[in-house]
Amino acid sequence: MEGRRKVLVIDDEPDLVEMIRMALERMFEVTTAFNGKEGVTKAREERPDVIVLDVMMPEKDGFTACRELKGDPSTASIPIIILTGVAEHFGRTKYHRMGGLEIEAEDFIPKPVDPNELLRRVTALLKKD
């Protein structure tokens, strides 16, 4: 075992980040960031195995952060799971659109987040590697 896989959770809501951390901690090493800007910096520094990203955030929203990460060769290969708002409640297959914007990501999970479901999805993404 070469150490636990690392998950970066980016969300502006500390309680939610805490909840997700608790959910994922059982199997992964979890680092956190509280806005998009910080998240991108951390992703570049720490090279996580998976990123969990909220779209609605101050200081660089999820869309921009996601596009930056996917546009940077050093982070492009890291799979991203996007947490989507309730009203958006949007696609999980090919139709990744929010408010008319296309967004490229490996998976989408609607809010409110079911911690077990999130754990399952992260595990599934890592198994693909």
């Binding site: 608790m22 009203a87 409640h89 696609g91 139709y95 408010g99 409110p112 987040v113 911690p115």
Partner: protein, 659 residues
């Protein structure tokens, strides 16, 4: 009245005004036509009657001229017979003297015949070459009566042999060959040899009044135009109409024109022609007079015919006068033209009047109509002028009152509506704010509760703890559900509902994610989902917004879970036809009363009842679903067997892929 309105409906006249004008026209046309026809008929008849009356008078005048001539002959003979020279001549039997003296008298007075006889009726002397004498004339009716001291005058037929005795020129003057005309009655003869004469006879008396002899004489009428031309001159004053003589007169010997001023085609006197068959029968056969229009030689005349009788009262000929019909016809035609002209003028005048009258009638109605159109288009500024005190004026006044009332009402409504819109917007903003703010913490709560519930954060030690977590989780789920509905509403109500349509597999995109979300709830209520017609359902594709479609399925299935019978079944199915795709979600349970089937889609609709009140709900799920389905061009409705099940169905138009 109503018939008439229907009748108008078929006419191609759009406006009230053209109808009114047309009505005026119709009335004037009908009236004008009727009065013209009746008037011309009446005037025509009057003219004809007048003409006939006049021609009767003319005939009387003609007779006067005719008889005057007869009397003149009689007077000449009377005076001559009383002269001493003549009396002595007869007494002395001096034939030469008598012949010389009487010839002078005959020539002086324009007589054709003047003959003296002795008391036995033997001719003493004639006054025309070859001065034949010695023959017996006592058989002649006039001579016989003269020798009995009578003075007699009449028109008589003189046979050819008698004419020959009086003078051979008279035979030639009398001789006439018939000129055939189509209307004449056919006769075996083809010529006339005898003559017709105005004849008088008087006795010659001595001092004691004894008859010494007699004197007879006269004028042959054949080819003698004196009388007819005098009639023409006296009665008609020789007037011409379009080069034709207006008045004509004729003396007939039997049916033959022997003296006339009627002209034939060549412009010559039409002697030798004969009277028409009708006149022949009426006048010659029946001895009556004839007054009517008749075709004389080659023109129509208004004519009068009367028989000429001899001394014995036998009909021997006809006296005729006639007036050319043409002037009367022309007069009649002119009158008719005048009538029509007046009617036409009247029509024009009425058209003008109708134009102005109808304009004054319809203008206020036009104004009203325009104002009404304005109101129909939402413009309440128009009031119409009240121009009169009649019905239209009242209507205009009422209309203005209505406009003012409407205007103030509309203004009030507008103010109220603005207030309401503001309120609604504030409300939605507030709801949106609250629900959005609630959403996040609820998500956190739910996440922790799930982890507590499944022991991810370590086991719960007592059953009471477990029960508490269960209850919290159930309540948090319900709350999240409500929040979601309000967030959907917020999007729909504020008009922000964008539809991002794409060609999608309905089952995979719309249904599957919802079923996954509802898995826990279904398990909690021990409900079984049965997919009907699953194979087709999985193949079904349509143009729809996947996110919105999921809201529809989510709300329908959420309801089925919430209101369905615990441990019951939920059927989710699909059907299709040529035009649309149909989806349904059916659950076992109490169902919906028939009178509420349509109400469930209303905003904030909640079914009343003990059971329903205990279940939390926003009354927004079906409303949201309906808005979404209708935005996609589909329909949504509910069916229910009360007490057994409830079925919610919606359709999507089939659409064409790639279009």
């Amino acid at each position: 009245m109503w018939e008439k309105i229907k009748f108008w409906g078929k006419w191609p006249f759009g406006t009230l005004r053209s109808k009114l004008v047309f009505s005026f026209l119709l009335i004037v046309l009908a009236g004008g036509l009727a009065s013209t026809i009746i008037g011309t008929e009446m005037v025509g008849n009057t003219i004809i009657a007048e003409a006939q009356k006049k021609v009767r008078h003319d005939l009387v005048s003609a007779w006067m001229i005719y008889n005057e001539k007869l009397n003149r002959i009689q007077d000449i003979l009377n005076l001559t017979a009383k002269r001493d020279l003549i009396i002595r001549g007869v007494m002395a039997g001096q034939a030469d003297l008598l012949q010389q003296e009487l010839e002078r008298v005959r020539i002086d007075y324009g007589l054709d015949v003047l003959t003296v006889v002795d008391r036995k009726g033997i001719v003493i002397a004639r006054t025309r070459p070859p001065y034949q004498a010695g023959d017996f004339q006592g058989n002649d009716e006039l001579v016989r009566r003269a020798l009995k001291k009578e003075v007699v005058t009449s028109t008589e037929i003189i046979p050819q042999e008698e004419l020959a005795k009086e003078g051979p020129e008279l035979v030639r003057q009398a001789y006439l060959e018939f000129v055939e005309t189509p209307k004449a009655k056919s006769r075996p003869e083809s010529k006339e040899t005898s003559g017709m004469m105005l004849k008088a006879a008087v006795p010659i008396l001595d001092i004691n009044g004894n008859v010494l002899g007699g004197l007879y004489g006269g004028t042959l009428l054949n080819r003698n135009y004196e009388i007819v031309d005098k009639i023409k001159d006296v009665v008609y004053r020789g007037e011409l109409y379009k080069g034709k003589e207006t008045g004509t007169a004729t003396i007939f010997q039997w049916d033959l024109r022997i003296s006339t001023n009627v002209k034939n085609q060549s412009g010559l006197r039409a002697i030798g022609t004969r009277v028409s068959r009708d006149v022949y029968d009426q006048v010659l056969e029946n001895g009556r007079s004839w007054v009517d229009r008749a075709f004389v030689v080659n023109d129509w005349y208004i004519t009068a015919y009367e028989p000429i009788r001899n001394l014995r009262g036998e009909i021997i000929g006809i006296l005729y006068v006639g007036t050319l019909e043409e002037p009367y016809n022309d007069l009649r035609r002119n009158v008719i033209y005048s009538f029509f002209g007046i009617a036409f003028l009247g029509l024009v005048v009425v058209l003008f009047l109708a134009y102005f009258i109808t304009r004054s009638i319809t203008r206020p109605i036009d104004n009203l109509m325009k104002a009404t159109e304005g109101i129909a288009g939402g413009d309440f500024s128009h009031e119409v002028p009240v121009e009169s005190g009649d019905e239209v004026g009242h209507l205009a006044a009422s209309f203005n009152r209505m406009v003012r009332t409407l205007r103030s009402t509309m203004e009030e409504l507008h103010v109220l509506n603005t207030k309401l819109q503001d309120l609604n917007r504030h409300y939605l903003e507030m709801v949106g704010f609250i629900t959005h703010e609630l959403n996040q913490p609820m998500g956190v709560l739910k996440g922790f509760l799930i982890m507590l519930h499944d022991g991810s954060l370590g086991p719960l030690t007592t059953s009471k703890q477990k029960q508490a977590v269960d209850t919290m989780l159930r309540n948090v789920n319900a709350l999240i559900n409500m929040i979601q509905k309000y967030l959907q509403l917020g999007r729909i109500e504020s008009g922000r509902m964008e539809i991002n349509k794409a060609w999608i597999p309905i089952f995979e995109e719309g249904l599957t994610p919802v079923l996954e979300d509802e898995k826990q709830q279904l398990e909690a209520r021990r409900m079984e989902v049965i997919l009907e017609n699953e194979e087709s359902f999985r193949r079904a594709e349509a143009e729809a917004d996947p996110v919105l479609l999921r809201i529809v399925f989510s709300n329908l299935i959420g309801n089925a879970v919430k209101y369905g019978k615990e441990g019951g079944k939920i059927w989710i199915g699909f059907r299709e036809d040529a035009e649309e795709l149909l989806f349904y979600v059916k659950n076992e349970g109490g169902g919906i009363p028939p009178d509420k089937l349509n109400l469930v889609f209303d905003k904030f609709a909640r079914l009343e009842g003990e059971l329903e009140r205990r279940r939390r709900g926003t009354g927004l799920g079906l409303f949201n679903a309906k808005q979404i389905v209708e935005k996609h061009g589909g329909r949504i409705w509910a069916e229910s067997e009360e007490g057994k099940n409830a079925n919610f169905l919606f359709t999507l138009p089939r659409g064409i892929k790639g279009s």
